[in-house]
């Protein structure tokens, strides 16, 4: 599209939002369609693919053994990494992680970590020496906006899908036994991201909304409705009132998503 058409469209998006409408017909607080597919990568201990409208994110979980952190000798280690692979967008370039992919990984990581979604204390093999290390690799395949929410969903869906190998300790050495058991996941943190456009908050911005937003706010809540992670982004600002309003909406949207996907105590399945 020529840049003139782009600007006309952007103006239209902003004007509609001021009237409480969105170009794709959604209400300000509506998500695009969410599709979650789990277990798609047999090579991985856990995996999932999430579609949020046209945004497509994959997550894979690999389990290895390693040393615990010195300050948590009895706990397994969680590592979240995100790759903005260049096939997902003309603006992504090959190379080491940039500030955007690092922020994405760290925001998803905080949601899982701070909600204590994973019982890391159950991932200890030999205290202070050997624990399970859970690698969550987020792989963005198509970028059409709101990568954070899609990635957080993909990471959680992959963790819920993860099978731990059974094992025994024989003379200090770990021995893999036949069979698997599910990774102990006890919480379902859901990230809900807002874009501020024309001083309104819209939920789940798509790419063209992100291009004109003033600022971004992500609020992650756990199954009990508590807040476990927040991240403001973008070079604009929020009033305190907008922040508190967003926190309430985030809680409701997260509850809706959990219910829809059947995750957690109010979920229909799992």
């Amino acid at each position: 599209m020529s840049s003139i058409i782009v600007r006309v469209k952007q103006k239209q998006i902003a004007q509609l939002i001021a009237k409480g409408k969105r170009l794709d017909g959604r209400g300000l607080h509506d998500y695009r369609e969410i599709k979650v597919e789990q277990g798609i990568i047999e090579r991985a201990e856990g995996s999932a693919r999430v579609l949020l409208g046209k945004t497509e994110v994959m997550a894979g979980v690999k389990i290895e053994t390693g040393e615990p952190f010195p300050d948590t000798p009895n706990e397994g280690v969680l590592t979240v990494n995100a790759e903005l692979v260049p096939l997902a967008s003309p603006t992504f370039e090959p190379g080491p992680p940039d500030e955007n992919s690092i922020e994405l990984a760290r925001v998803v990581d905080r949601g899982v970590r701070e909600s204590k979604a994973i019982s890391t204390e159950k991932l200890c093999i030999t205290p202070g020496k050997k624990v399970f290390v859970i690698f969550v690799d987020i792989y963005v395949l198509n970028h059409d906006g709101n990568l954070i929410d899609a990635s957080a969903l993909a990471a959680l869906a992959a963790l819920l899908n993860t099978k731990m190998p059974n094992y025994e300790i024989e003379e200090g050495e770990i021995k893999i036994k036949p069979g698997y058991s599910a990774l102990p996941v006890r919480k379902h943190p859901i990230a809900v991201t807002f874009a501020k456009i024309n001083d309104k908050l819209v939920v789940d911005p798509w790419l063209e909304e992100e291009q004109i937003m003033d600022a971004r706010l992500t609020i992650t809540t756990d199954d009990d409705g508590n807040i476990c992670a927040i991240q403001k982004g973008g070079s604009g600002y929020f009033t305190p009132k907008q922040v508190f309003e967003a926190a309430q909406i985030a809680k409701e949207k997260a509850e809706e998503i959990r219910k829809k996907l059947g995750w957690g105590k109010n979920g229909e399945k799992n």
């Binding site: 260049p86 096939l87 395949l141 970028h143």
Partner: protein, 244 residues
């Protein structure tokens, strides 16, 4: 290749996944899967799951790398960390750098590079799950993504491996056959022109075995070529329906 004592062929002459020696793995092709890329293709071949996307022709940065009489083709072959048994670091390995080069050199002969001077075309291949012969599946996908992007081409490029396991020349090696077998011969082919654009080999083969393997791989390529063309047609049919 290490010689382990694993049985790759049973008494009936069938392989571990039940295939005959000259049988391809099941193949599923989807063209145009990604909305942002100018062209894209997704292929499953056995447990290989590979996505290719094309961006371009587009401007080149830095500009002094542009060529006055032709476009520059760039290619990146990359494996997802979760695509293999042991988690792979996302930083490009030496193997990935070599494969990026040979894949680029396998698809380039098909492209009319002189049509778009001073531009670049980027081919990005992501291996989401790897199960042997990924460079071949990648080439098959990359050439479909190029066609989907409307890049003018002499022909599609299609690739398939052959190899030797337990004294038998077989088609389309899967991971365990590649690791335990005694030779691997990946071949890329342009069926209309009848020419080879990728050829590698590792292992040990007599000259007779080598010729047999190359010819078998070419037969495999021809079969996949039919599927490639069907997938392209299916994409364009469905696009046409949408546009009407």
């Amino acid at each position: 290749m290490s010689q382990k004592t694993e049985k790759l062929i049973d008494k009936k002459g069938l392989r571990l996944d039940g295939r005959k020696s000259d049988e391809l793995r099941p193949i599923k092709i989807e063209v145009g899967a990604l909305s942002n890329a100018d062209g894209s293709a997704y292929i499953e071949q056995g447990k290989n799951k590979i996505l290719a996307a094309v961006y371009g022709p587009r401007e080149l940065h830095p500009k002094h790398m542009a060529l006055p009489d032709r476009m520059v083709l760039r290619c990146r072959y990359h494996m997802a960390p979760f695509s293999v048994q042991e988690r792979k670091s996302p930083a490009p390995s030496r193997r990935e750098i070599e494969l990026s080069k040979v894949i680029r050199e396998a698809v380039e002969p098909a492209i009319f590079v002189e049509y778009y001077p001073r531009t670049a075309i980027d081919v990005f291949v992501e291996v989401l799950q790897a199960d042997g012969s990924t460079r071949c599946t990648s080439i098959t996908a990359a050439s479909l993504a190029l066609a989907d992007a409307g890049i003018p081409m002499r022909d599609l490029v299609v690739a398939c491996s052959a190899g030797k396991i337990e004294d038998m020349i077989v088609l389309d090696l899967m991971d365990i056959e590649d690791k335990v077998g005694s030779a691997d011969v990946p071949v890329a082919f342009m069926p209309n022109l009848g020419v080879i654009t990728l050829l590698q080999m590792d292992g040990i083969l007599t000259h007779e075995e080598f010729e047999k393997a190359v010819n078998l791989a070419i037969e495999g390529c021809k079969k996949i070529y039919t599927l490639q063309k069907e997938a392209l047609r299916a994409k364009y049919v469905s696009v046409k329906e949408v546009e009407e």
